[in-house]
Symmetry: C2
Subunit: 190 residues, 2 copies
Amino acid sequence: MNVKFCQYCGAKTEKKIPKGDDHLRDICTQCKAIHYQNPKIITGVIVEHAGKILLAKRAIEPRYGTWTVPAGFMELEETAQAGAARECYEETEAKIKNIELFGVYNTTVNSQVYTLFRAELDGLHFTETVESLEVKLVDPKDIPWDDLAFPCIESALERYVKEMKTGFTVQLEDIHGSFKGARSTGYYDS
Amino acid sequence: MNVKFCQYCGAKTEKKIPKGDDHLRDICTQCKAIHYQNPKIITGVIVEHAGKILLAKRAIEPRYGTWTVPAGFMELEETAQAGAARECYEETEAKIKNIELFGVYNTTVNSQVYTLFRAELDGLHFTETVESLEVKLVDPKDIPWDDLAFPCIESALERYVKEMKTGFTVQLEDIHGSFKGARSTGYYDS
């Protein structure tokens, strides 16, 4: 992604390596501000109730119509777990309790880091929303493995289902797979 | 932090809540691009050798002259652990092995998330660098607790020293403390 104009003064930028740095940065030709770009955090949560897992069918791009666990871009001034709970509410109206860290997932293909949590459904309310075409509790044997939104979600659900029997751990994973449309949204202009 | 000018076309932005959103964003008055801002990841590593921990004295702001473990802003297209190893090399010239996730730390005061790892020193080389006034292996009983750079580093080292005896875990922690100068660098203009 290129920062073509300076966010502080509006002048054009140029690609240069700042003194003491070793990465090309977009530097303002006028005020000399350096526009660093860094990975973004996606924060999400696997919500369980009575042995079933809460899945949502995406009503937004990318991956419209595929299934996922609630997750989205972390906002400024919130914790990763608060962000996961917020995304869960926005996408499904479900409230959650007993939230615990489940994993950290590097998806270098689009420079994202997922912080994924696990939690229990707090109350029995959930519903479709503007972000989700459908929301339901799914038995692990009925997870639509061929119709999940992102490789990271697939990997996390695989481990979650396994660890429902063996006990939960916290793992670091690198996700190398991509998916059609991964860079097609307004978030990327590679 | 305000994005005053559009990074794509250079026109002025205005603060508005986009349709379907609930946060104020900086939106371009001309091309309508939305400039999202999200937390940044600091990735770092606690390096151990023969029961001692590698500490570096900061040669850069913020917190010039205080002690820390190697850590810094994660770059695009790297994993969090690769970033931690890179920062370790840049700050101390130390190479590391057997890197494992140690914790995720929310520092909401400056909208950062730390991914902290633990590792062993690979070889015995380390040295001061342009980023570190001094680099040394420190016995846990000699850690300069009153002279550490950031609350997150203090919290992580406290747990690390405790877990050297009891076995390591992976924890999620919220860091509420701030420090003088936390918002004084070019990274922030709150």
